[in-house]
Subunit: 223 residues, 2 copies
Amino acid sequence: MSDPLAQTDRTKVRRIAERGSFDRDLVNSIIDEAYLAHVGFVIDGAPKVLPMTYGRDGDVIYLHGAVGNAMLRASTDAEVCVTITLLDGLVMARSAFHHSMNYRSVVLLGEAVKVDDEDEKRRAFDVIVDHVLPGRTETARATNPSELRSTLVLKLPIDEGSAKIRTGGAVDDEEDHGLPVWAGVIPLALVAGEPEQDALQLDVPELAGLTPPVPARPTSARR
Amino acid sequence: MSDPLAQTDRTKVRRIAERGSFDRDLVNSIIDEAYLAHVGFVIDGAPKVLPMTYGRDGDVIYLHGAVGNAMLRASTDAEVCVTITLLDGLVMARSAFHHSMNYRSVVLLGEAVKVDDEDEKRRAFDVIVDHVLPGRTETARATNPSELRSTLVLKLPIDEGSAKIRTGGAVDDEEDHGLPVWAGVIPLALVAGEPEQDALQLDVPELAGLTPPVPARPTSARR
């Protein structure tokens, strides 16, 4: 059992608190299953949220982007909010009011710190690539020093934050239970389609025969 | 052809600008296809991002939540950022550096205004429910006055913002084209599974025979 995340006044789950959790293993499982984070930062006093890829190494999340990325620069050594959401289903209630969604989400808060150490930066790069497809860095051409230099890497400790989860069916008012309106859950899952190989490789018999990588995640996420 | 969105200094797409667009029809199509928005706001100077459902009525986005929702209260008459992202595929390059994702995203900025007018509030509610499943409000039990009173509805004009899209295959450096590493795209799509009817209805023959609603969106989104 890992240590739970820090429960602070600003990470307390306020709405329907029983859906909240500070369990680190649960938080990590959501982080590891999703592909995208929505990263919030404050620029000139106003909020801005952008979708980003990321990677997790133990108790740290790495983000990256071009050195000129205005958002990453504004986030360097500044407070950020990294929110990761998996949508698991549409909850159809008998009443319009009780419609809902099943989801698993994580909200992480803290200061995003720039990674300057070259070894850690290289490792962060690997972690981000392997997050998409475990083991991918063993086959892909490794990141070179000039690519590393052109990239800004930020890290955020997985420390202050929480998970929130909704599962299960519709929760209608008792007096609505007999209404002739279909109620239940329509499950949703992110599913991978057939890999589409690069046209340049298709022209070369030995490259056209390469085995496409199979992402285990989207199909295993089906529930 | 609709009017484009306002192009301001803070909505200019900076990184890889050719992927950006202010086309209103494109922006609306992304808003209409997704189920979740990630809404950013500033609380005590720090950013916070939460996943929320929403609905679109013409050039307006509606958000809602419980009257006690701290986030919605902090967002009332304050600057928010509503970001909506569809993940379409994993782009596998020959080099670790050029791995990417195909996506369609919208970022909307502006002041979220509380809706006080009861008719507009009711209409916003319908728009949010029908966003999940078009026509659902025609069958579900309508929202009653007490449910309306317990709900805070905010609206944001779709005015200042932009879309950003990546499509297509891996873009590797020319000297890497011959590397024996599979390159291409693994398409991803949110797919609906078999509807799971509410257990209480399954016990009543005439209710167990209700036709489940079919969400057109997830399967049609498959690409």
